[in-house]
Amino acid sequence: MQGFIYLVSAYAIVWVGLFAYLAVIMMRIRGVRTELAAVQELVREQQEKPTTS
């Protein structure tokens, strides 16, 4: 019975670890995409400035 608990613990740690890591990656990608969109908007605004003045 104890051996079974160790087996389940090992697999649970691997699964939880990998899913947590995947979730962190997805959140980081989302964060960088948002940042990139904001910076691109700033660049666009800067590029438009001289043509309007």
Binding site: Y6, G17, I29, V43, P50
Partner: protein, 247 residues
């Protein structure tokens, strides 16, 4: 004029980094790898728990082997990729090699951590202890420290050429630990079993087949994770360069 220079600079950067639209789209390779990993993982789980026979001596906990070995293999493979990418960076001075190195270091750190944890649990059931200063365990722990050192160095120095160079040197020195880990069971007297895969008759065919499928599955998972982190690195580099242009 200054703005015109900035524009041409941005265009040049985009030629290596890609256009912003390209960076936000998930590549087809990612979806294909994720699908293959899912199929492989389901097959591995089925084989580990329902197909492969229970070990006569170690019993049920021996099934940890089918995850522990591939995870440890990926931990070492990732460091090999990190070292090759580091050499590539020092040689070509191309930032893409550095993104590859950073991606491999990050994924490798996760895998080697999981290998140490699963190994510790397996050791508790077979050796009666969570940890012993056995040659293979110790050299693997050294690899973990090298990975952590690399990650800390890169994080502390930021995204600069000096950071990439320092990281590359550390990775090239650190890769020496990989053959030492592999050969540790032959060079020293250890509790860790010697390599049985590839030795005729050492393992039943069901065990070898299950291990191989698990190895392929984890290699696919590593490739999938690498692609995600590489894309992330690419987008971070683009964001940093755009920030620099508007400041």
């Amino acid at each position: 004029m200054a703005l015109a220079n900035r524009d041409t600079q941005t265009e040049r950067q985009n030629s290596t980094i890609g256009t912003p639209g390209q960076n936000t789209r998930p590549p087809i390779a990612s979806l294909a790898l994720l699908t293959l990993t899912f199929i492989g993982m389901m097959t591995s789980i089925f084989m580990i728990f329902l197909y492969v026979p229970t070990d006569a001596i170690e019993g049920i906990p021996q099934r940890i082997f089918y995850f522990h070995v591939p995870i440890a293999w990926i931990g070492m493979l990732a460091f090999g990729v990190l070292a090759v990418a580091s050499i590539g960076y020092l040689w070509k001075k191309d930032e893409r090699w550095d993104w590859l190195a950073r991606a491999s270091a990050e994924v490798g750190t996760i895998f080697i951590t999981l290998a140490l944890i699963t190994g510790s649990i397996w050791g508790r059931t077979t050796w009666g202890t969570w940890w012993t200063w056995d040659a293979r365990l110790t050299t693997t722990l050294i690899l973990w420290f090298i990975y952590i050192g690399y990650m800390m160095l890169r994080s502390y120095m930021g995204r600069t050429p000096a950071s990439a160079r320092s990281g590359a040197v550390l990775a090239i020195i650190g890769v020496i630990d990989i053959p030492i880990i592999y050969e540790s069971v032959n060079w020293w007297r250890t509790l860790h079993p010697q390599a049985e895969v590839g030795t005729p008759g050492a393992l039943p065919p069901e065990v070898v087949l299950t291990l191989m499928i698990s190895l392929v599955t984890f290699t696919l998972l590593y490739s999938f994770l690498m692609l995600q982190i590489y894309q992330l690195q690419k987008m971070q580099a683009l964001a940093q360069q755009l920030h620099a242009n508007i400041e």
